[in-house]
């Protein structure tokens, strides 16, 4: 085999076309932010019942996927799997880019985004949100260091050391993100310790799916080649992670079903919740779970070269649906403030809350995705993070 050589990607027409498209989406997000800033959140579909909506679905997806995008690097340097080494740099860059995209959405959706400085100088350490500010910025610092040591000619022990810190940090980061919901005692859909491991499993799965698509796309638009064996290896992992998400989801709902006080919420999500129920069963479980697992493991489907790509797309669709069901579904179901009574009021007590997302919300969320993708493309253009050749014959073997 040849040595693995990392080179900046060439400025092809396809690269510029993709960049222009991404910039258009970012401009759309900027317009959305200015519009909502001027008119207030009345311009969105969010209200006093569903206070977090589509922007949060995108933000949480990106933040969770950021942690999972580091899979390739972690497997190479923490778990010593040599075939993953050539993709480790891209893995680190994608992790940072996705986090930046997610945070941008989260921050720009604030009621007062101009007060970001307050969030950075005034802390309440009993809030998991405040801790997350450290976990997110720390993640960027740790992964940037990780990338730097990977790209410099230092002893590999340093790479392994920083990689281990980054691996532990990403587990903490996703625990923190899951705990935003897990530690909410008020609402029946949350208040569960399983949120933390569930989010970790989701990060492994969604992050890897995004990584596969970004890797394949970057190679295609730069005229480089990726071998089928690497893609199938990544696809195999994706299958395991998608199954893990299904497992934790099953445990989450079975545990809640066992407790009579959660029966109402479970009936809502699993049976009577209208579009939430459809999104749960059809998109999250079937499209985002069972079909990709079948694509990856059923022998006849497995031989299709497009299988890991298709599986990744389906995992991402299912992932967005899952986060929507958790975030919006959890708020839409009424809180039981008055056990034993049927409640009604002008403030929607006892009613399932309505939420109709508007264009500015989608524009902001998609702008965050575009920002993340543009950042990773830019990095590939100016940094030596992508190998020139990822054909199977060129992958390093384990010692």
């Amino acid at each position: 085999m040849e040595r693995t050589i990392y080179r900046e990607i060439p400025a092809t027409g396809a690269l510029w076309a993709v960049a222009a498209l991404l910039i258009a989406f970012i401009a759309g997000a900027a317009a959305s932010v200015i519009y909502v800033e001027h008119h207030g959140h009345i311009a969105t579909g969010m209200n006093n019942q569903v206070v977090w909506g589509i922007p949060h679905v995108f933000a949480i997806f990106l933040i969770v996927a950021a942690s999972g995008a580091l899979n390739g690097a972690s497997i190479a340097s923490v778990f010593g799997q040599a075939p993953y080494k050539p993709i480790a740099r891209l893995s680190a860059v994608l992790a940072m880019s996705l986090l930046i995209g997610g945070l941008a959405v989260l921050v720009l959706d604030l009621g007062r985004p101009d007060r970001l400085l307050v969030a950075m100088t005034t802390y309440n350490f009993s809030s998991i949100f405040a801790w997350n500010i450290y976990l997110y910025t720390g993640f960027l610092a740790v992964v940037a260091t990780y990338l730097a040591v990977q790209m410099s000619r230092v002893d590999y022990a340093y790479v392994r050391g920083v990689g281990t810190v980054a691996f532990l940090w990403r587990l903490a980061l996703t625990t923190g993100t899951g705990s935003i919901f897990g530690w909410l005692v008020a609402r029946p859909g949350y208040d569960a310790a399983i949120m933390a491991p569930l989010f970790i499993a989701m990060s492994f799965s969604f992050g890897l799916a995004v990584f596969i698509l970004v890797l394949v796309t970057l190679f295609r638009i730069s005229g480089r080649k990726v071998g089928g064996a690497l893609c199938h290896r990544l696809g195999g992992l994706l299958g395991i992670f998608a199954a893990t998400v299904l497992y934790f989801t099953a445990v989450q709902h079975l545990t809640a079903l066992y407790a009579a006080k959660h029966a109402g919420f479970e009936r809502f999500i699993l049976l009577e919740g209208g579009h939430f129920t459809w999104m749960f069963w059809l998109l999250q479980v079937v499209v985002g779970g069972l079909i990709p697992i079948a694509l990856i493991y059923v022998p006849r489907m497995r031989n299709n070269p497009a299988e890991p790509i298709l599986a990744s797309i389906l995992v991402i669709i299912g992932g967005l649906a899952q986060i929507y069901v958790i975030v919006v579904g959890g708020q839409a179901y009424p809180m039981d403030i008055f056990p034993g009574y049927e409640a009604s009021s002008s403030f929607f007590d006892g009613e399932v809350a309505r939420y109709s997302p508007t264009l500015p919300e989608f524009a902001l969320g998609l702008g965050g995705v575009a920002l993340a993708l543009l950042a990773v493309g830019l990095a590939a253009k100016i940094l030596r993070i992508l190998p020139t050749n990822l054909l199977d014959a060129n992958l390093p073997a384990n010692d």
Binding site: H39, G40, H41, I42, N47, N48, Q49, V51, W52, L110, G111, R112, P113, D114, R115, L116, L117, V118, A119, M120, T121, T122, Y123, N124, S126, S127, I128, F129, A130, I133, I180, W183, L184, V185, A186, R187, Q331, M335, I337, F338, G340, Y341, E342, A343, S344, S345, S346, F347, F348, D349, R354
Partner: protein
């Protein structure tokens, strides 16, 4: 709450350089870092609370709500889903007996408020006398407190505000809720809702110091049964309901 800004050089340096500061200078001038005037006025020897006698609350009466709106200036824009409601009337029908009743629900001024725990900046805070407030100067509008409040007591200001009441400045993009009429309490008066309820002759609301065993509210609580909403959460709210 409206203390003039005191920003030391250190605060400015901490906050990330002059370029960033200049860009958002308008926000900076409005900032108030902790220890606000309103906190200073609180007396740690007191804990303010409300006792609501549900039997005395007339089903169709909304005097408490109107009084709160007039006092604090949170009238809506005609959009039920996004309009603020600091206090609301909830109709309750007993599932087993069919008995129907109605009562006002507002911020329960918990001893251990989840909204204060989750607020990343400390904008949600509890005064020494138990009143739970939002510091409008450091609320970033993340709405995590609204996710955490078990009583749906908080509202987000979705639209530009005008014709505000001087008693309770409001801000688009921040969260707000019942202040227990802190501006009146600090002057030795009772909350507007309680005053209005008394004026109707119903007398369904009693305001007072829960720490003072001689106060009317403490005596009534000691003598007659009452409940806290979501008692299972052990938040020890300052608002109690009798005859529910």
């Amino acid at each position: 709450m409206s203390q003039p800004p005191k920003i030391s050089r250190r605060d400015l340096l901490k906050s990330g350089g002059s370029a960033v500061t200049l860009t958002i200078a308008s926000g900076v001038t409005l900032m108030a870092f902790g220890g606000s005037e309103v906190q200073g006025a609180a007396d740690a020897g007191k804990r303010w609370g409300l006792l609501i006698d549900v039997n005395k609350c007339a089903k169709d009466c909304t005097a408490c709500i109107t009084a709160c709106q007039d006092e604090n200036g949170w009238k809506g824009h005609g959009n039920r889903e996004t309009d603020a409601q600091w206090i609301r009337k909830v109709t309750l029908k007993n599932k087993a007996t069919g008995h129907e009743t109605a009562m006002p629900v507002m911020c329960q001024h918990c001893e251990k408020p989840p909204c204060v725990d989750v607020c990343p900046t400390g904008a949600s805070f509890k005064r020494k006398d138990g009143i739970v407030l939002v510091d409008k100067h450091i609320c970033i509008g993340c709405r995590y407190c609204m996710m955490a409040c078990p009583f749906k007591a908080r509202s987000f200001v979705h639209e530009p505000t005008n014709n505000q009441s001087v008693n309770a400045p409001r801000g688009q993009g921040t969260v707000e809720s019942c202040t227990l009429c802190v501006h009146r309490v600090d002057k030795g008066q009772i909350p507007a809702c309680v005053e209005a309820c008394d004026a109707t002759g119903n007398g369904a609301m009693i305001f007072g110091d829960l720490k003072d065993p001689e106060s009317e509210i403490s005596k009534r609580l000691a003598e007659f049964p009452s409940v806290a909403l979501r008692g299972d959460l052990e938040l020890n709210p300052g608002v109690r309901y009798a005859e529910l």
